[in-house]
């Protein structure tokens, strides 16, 4: 075990009778000394363990405090971020509801209504235009018929005029044959011829006017044909397509509204959750206090052990001097550690007697199976 090896207390029975009377009041039996030495060694090692534990706990407490603070501020940033998201999402609701025009928000369904009204109006105007165009086509057709009839009249007039002229000519010839007796007749015949000439001239003017009218009608007819044959049916059908589109737009706006409402609700619940998380993190305050109590208790135990050691050593002079450390059970203890840095610290302080900060406290866990570790330690 630890070098005293002469007597194993558990195995050999006491051979010498205990003679209390012949020993001094403060003399102790050898087997008792051995036992006491074991207790002293145990107490000593316990003190070392206690000291190591105290520094381990203090560091852990500080670590928790730092991490809790960091977490707390991260969560508070998160809460702020969530709030900003909520604001953004709420501004989206405005977009979902309508379109901003000249500083006024026009709701989507009103836009649909306005467009539908405008399109209906256009369709009605197209119908009216088509009806009036066709009406003009029929009117011009009638005019053409009238012009045709007037043309016939003109032809008859010209024909009559020709006959009149012929008659007047014949009358003049007869008047010449009649000599002096036909003088009056000759004058009348001449007048008739003049009249005929005038009629022919007038007839010519009328014909050219009529021709102008006919040309005008023909031109109007051609224009009207162009107007009336513009097929507006495609434009009318476009209204149909637009109505389908508008209905889809209104539906999209509604579904956007729903999604945005969900988002706002979700954002609200995130904020609430974060607030409770921040509150929960404040636990570290109580934890710190509890750990401080633990450390304090250990200190008390340490002191008790020290006093007992001191008074024992004072009563039993054989116990004075260096105590050899009891390492066997310590090694069994260290085998149970999974954190390699923690085990290294305990080894250094318990077995090598080094100060508590010789091996740094790692921020992250590194779980190592207990059978690994540097060869020099075990």
């Amino acid at each position: 075990m630890f070098g005293l090896g002469r007597r194993k207390i558990a195995e050999e029975p006491v051979v010498e009778p205990v003679v209390v009377a012949s020993t001094a009041a403060n003399e102790v039996e050898p087997q008792h000394i051995a036992l006491l030495q074991r207790w002293m060694a145990l107490a000593d090692m316990q003190q070392r363990v206690i000291s190591t534990l105290m520094s381990e706990i203090t560091h852990t407490s500080a670590f928790i405090e730092t991490e809790a603070d960091a977490l707390s501020s991260r969560f508070q940033r998160l809460a702020l971020s969530a709030e900003q998201q909520t604001d953004r999402v709420q501004s989206l609701t405005k977009l979902a509801v309508g379109i901003e025009v000249d500083g006024e928000t026009v709701p989507i369904d009103r836009i649909a209504g306005l467009l539908e009204g405008t399109l209906s109006d256009v369709v009605q105007k197209i119908l009216l235009l088509s009806k009036d165009s066709m009406s003009m086509v029929y009117a011009l057709n009638e005019l053409n018929v009238n012009v045709g009839r007037v043309d016939q009249c003109m032809a008859q007039l010209n024909s009559i005029n020709k006959t009149t002229n012929m008659l007047a000519l014949n009358a003049r010839i007869e008047a010449e044959r009649a000599g002096a007796a036909g003088a009056a007749f000759r004058v009348v015949a001449q007048e008739v011829r003049e009249l005929s000439k005038a009629t022919a001239s007038l007839s010519g003017s009328m014909q050219s006017e009529l021709d102008s009218v006919a040309d005008g009608i023909a031109s109007g007819h051609a224009t009207l044909q162009r107007v009336a044959t513009i097929d507006m049916s495609e434009n009318i059908l476009a209204k149909d397509r637009l109505e389908v589109l508008l209905a889809a737009l209104v539906r999209r706006s509604e579904s956007l509204n729903e999604t945005v409402s969900d988002a706002v609700r979700e954002a609200g619940s995130i904020s609430t959750d974060v607030e409770s998380m921040v509150t929960g993190i404040q636990f570290q305050d109580r934890t710190k206090q509890r750990l401080e109590h633990v450390v304090d208790t250990l200190k008390v135990i340490d002191q008790a052990l020290e006093e007992t050691k001191a008074s024992t050593a004072a009563d039993v002079p054989e116990l004075a001097g260096d105590i050899k450390p009891d390492t066997e059970w310590v090694k069994r203890l260290l085998d149970r550690f999974t954190l390699s840095d923690m085990r290294a610290r305990f080894v250094a302080q318990l077995l090598d007697g080094q100060p508590s900060d010789v091996v740094p406290y790692e921020q992250t866990n590194s779980i190592v199976p207990s059978s690994s570790g540097s060869a020099e330690l075990f």
């Binding site: 119908l127 009806k131 066709m134 044959t229 049916s233 059908l237 149909d240």
Partner: protein, 99 residues
């Protein structure tokens, strides 16, 4: 466009496509339709496949002529593109449209 009168002379079938170029034929048909003694005359457009805006205008003129002649004008069985056009132009508010 082609048209076929029933024996009753107040019922006419209109077949094919009704566009601007049919304006002369249409006038003849309408004149003959309103010569019948009935107070109500019917245009069966079940076999009319297409009507353009000129055709719609001509129907509106026929409506005016019917009113002037004291007749009721009924349009029967519009289908397909014709039915769609009637819907978009709300013809059911202007004419008696039957299925």
């Amino acid at each position: 466009m082609e048209f076929r009168f029933d024996n009753t002379q107040d019922y006419v079938h209109v077949v094919g496509e009704f566009t601007f170029t049919d304006h002369a034929a249409f006038k003849l048909m309408i004149d003959r339709l309103f010569e019948a003694n009935s107070s109500s005359v019917t245009m069966d457009i079940g076999q009319l496949q297409f009507i353009d805006s000129a055709g719609l205008g001509m129907l509106l003129l026929a409506r005016d002529a019917a009113a002037k002649a004291g007749r009721k004008l009924v349009l029967r069985a519009p289908t397909g593109q014709v039915k769609r056009m009637f819907g978009l132009t709300k013809f059911d508010t202007l004419f008696t449209v039957e299925d």
